[in-house]
């Protein structure tokens, strides 16, 4: 237990200053990722999952964003207190990111070969020729057919799946320790999603990288994740091993999410949906942020914010009534 985790986020707090007031996008998020492990961060839009990732990458737009508290420790060093120059060396080299929409995340006026080669030239100071050879290798590595011929092509000449492979190649170029994938398959066709996800998982195993997978797709998560963190209104409401979480959720929100996945054995029945809408981040409700939508909410829930408590070894939840939820029979 003396080893330092690859990445540890401690009590991170991020605010956005908007016209309607201060939006508390992230309110004390903590998680750790170890080498070779996959942490899936699950949550609906606006739950703070992407903002947390942007804070880790150091690409939050500040202003309007502001990190008001917490630490982000990469191998024990706090990224938030580092100089911009040090952080830039880590970005892309040790911690890399895969974005949701590869078409808009690749520069339209530069060839993909140039953009891949740029990674080696910026971080390794390679010559143009060397970097280019490495770019072709990388394209082969992510199984782009005819890499040698296509290295001079531009992003718009590739299909969506191929473009996402190029994004993956860019992120993997320098064999980073940690990859953050922000909804890497959301913009893709369903048929291509699985291919891209499998490729990512395979490369992750091979390089023993840590992976933070940000998604709202429960199906993707079940296949590849080791640990799942469920976020709601800027907080982690439950964090658990993937099997435990799927079998017995400890938070009513997690339970609601799982129940709202269509299931073959419930064919014909009405699909469950969590009632209500996520709260506005500028005026979070008092007490538990989920209480207005929670069927099991009590007066305690509406008055006191539940602390994040351990409910089992390696498993936490933020609910006053986690015991009841945990023991409830599966739907």
């Amino acid at each position: 237990m003396t080893t330092v985790p690859l990445l540890e986020v401690r009590d991170l707090q991020v605010e956005f200053h908007t016209r309607d007031g201060v939006a508390k996008a992230v309110n004390g998020v903590s998680y750790t990722v170890e080498a070779g492990q996959t942490l899936a961060v699950l949550g609906e839009s606006g739950s703070g999952k992407s903002v947390t990732a942007q804070a880790v990458m150091g690409i939050l737009d500040m202003p309007p964003g502001r990190i008001t508290g917490g630490q982000i420790l990469y191998r024990g060093q706090d990224l938030l207190t580092m100089s911009e120059e040090q952080r830039r060396k880590i970005r892309g080299d040790r911690i890399a990111m895969i974005f949701q929409d590869a078409l808009s995340s690749l520069n339209p006026v530069l060839s993909v070969g140039y953009q891949l080669a740029e990674m080696f030239r910026v971080h390794r100071g390679m010559s143009r020729r060397q970097a280019r050879a490495r770019a072709i290798e990388l394209m082969d590595r992510v199984r782009i057919p005819g890499a040698r011929e296509r290295v001079n092509d531009y992003p718009h000449q590739f299909s969506g799946g191929m473009r996402q492979r190029i994004m993956i190649a860019m992120a993997l170029a320098l064999e980073p320790d940690l990859i953050i994938a922000d909804e890497p398959t959301t913009a893709l066709d369903v048929t291509v999603q699985a291919q891209v996800m499998d490729l990512l998982a395979e490369l992750q195993r091979e390089y023993r990288m840590g992976l933070i997978l940000i998604t709202h797709d429960l199906g993707v998560v079940a296949d590849v994740a080791d640990t799942i963190a469920v976020m709601y209104a800027g907080r982690i409401v439950e964090r658990a091993d993937v099997h435990q979480l799927y079998r017995r959720p400890a938070h009513p929100y997690t339970k609601g999410l799982l129940d709202s996945v269509p299931r073959l054995d419930h064919k014909g029945g009405e699909l469950y949906a969590i009632k209500g809408l996520p709260p506005s981040l500028t005026s979070l409700p008092g007490g538990c942020a989920f209480s207005p939508r929670c069927a099991a909410a009590t007066d305690l829930c509406r008055s006191q914010t539940p602390a994040v408590v351990p409910v089992a070894p390696g498993r936490v939840a933020a609910c006053h009534h986690w015991k009841e939820t945990l023991d409830a029979p599966a739907a």
């Binding site: 892309g92 995340s105 191929m162 291919q195 499998d198 490729l199």
Partner: protein, 313 residues
């Protein structure tokens, strides 16, 4: 190495060669190449390019078209009658002006001043304005405030009035001086266009992605933002080139532009204007060349805009 097992597992079908059915696109065609492809097929561009090419050749090698000195006049030719339009490229083709100088020779030699001022001012304005706009747009904050206010101050000065005042103070008005004066007052337009364009481009996902993958400030600015932001500036610059040429002619007409040893259409228009009833041809040819020249650059600007920004069409 490219095993397909994982794909098979994922899709549950026979191994498919990933991406194979893609239609092979033309190899390595950048957006610039696309724009060029469009341009070459645009008659507007072809015509204007031919005109501009012709004018540039006139400006560079006037002696190819006439061997008459445009400054030498023969009093015997004073306002000598109608142009001999059958005498191609001969001194009396366009007739003679009040000092007996060949109008054809003057029109040919006057091209250089106009083209020089047009291109020179455009170059200066694009460099100064483009750089200002790029810095203001990219860095934002106090730098943007300072640069934008300076731009606004210059923008507030009426273009011609400002040039009149500036040039009145200079006694030796060579083409370089006139270029400097026009650029001094004209760069604000480019700065504004560039700033706006950079502000838009800065929001692009690929800029965030470049940042997330460790590119530094200058690399992001010059490699990722500038090439994507420069198109509107090019369009405005091409159109503005024509207006700088007409501004030079206007100033020369008003007597504060280029001065006598320099041959310029503006000067000729000015001297011809008081004899327009007796010898309309003396006014017609320099004025016609000026219009043709400005028209060519405006048409070119339109064509460039169509090619670079199909959305605006």
């Amino acid at each position: 190495m490219p095993d397909t097992t994982s794909i098979e597992k994922a899709t549950g079908t026979a191994p498919v060669k990933v991406g194979a059915p893609l239609p092979a696109p033309a190899k390595g065609r950048s957006l610039w190449a696309d724009a060029w492809h469009d341009l070459r097929r645009n008659p507007l561009f072809v015509i204007s390019a031919a005109l501009i090419l012709f004018l540039v050749v006139l400006a560079l090698f006037p002696s190819l078209f006439t061997d008459v000195n445009p400054r030498d006049g023969d009093p015997a030719n004073h306002y000598l009658g109608r142009p001999e339009l059958t005498h191609w490229f001969r001194p009396d083709w366009f007739g003679y002006d009040g000092q007996g100088r060949s109008i054809w020779a003057r029109v040919v030699h006057g091209t250089r001043a106009s083209i020089l001022v047009g291109f020179g001012v455009t170059l200066l304005v694009t460099l100064v304005g483009g750089l200002t706009g790029l810095l203001a747009g990219y860095f934002g904050g106090w730098l943007d405030s300072v640069l934008s206010r300076i731009t606004d101050i210059f923008f507030g000065v009426p273009f011609l009035l400002g040039a009149l005042v500036v040039l009145n103070a200079v006694t030796d008005r060579t083409p370089v001086v006139v270029m400097g004066a026009l650029a001094f007052l004209g760069w604000t337009q480019m700065a504004r266009v560039m700033r706006g364009s950079v502000l838009t481009t800065k929001q692009a996902d690929y800029v965030t992605a470049a940042r997330a993958l460790g590119a530094g400030t200058w690399r992001i600015m010059l490699r990722h933002i500038l090439p994507n932001a420069v198109a509107p500036v090019l369009v405005v610059a091409t159109i503005a080139l024509g207006s700088y040429i007409s501004a030079e002619a206007t100033l020369s007409y008003l007597g504060v532009g280029l001065q006598d040893p320099t041959v310029s259409w503006g000067i000729d228009i000015s001297t011809a204007s008081n004899q327009v009833r007796n010898a309309p041809h003396v006014l017609f040819f320099p004025a016609g060349m000026l219009s043709l020249c400005v028209l060519a650059f405006m048409m070119m600007g339109d064509a460039v805009r169509d090619a670079l920004d199909p959305k605006l069409r």
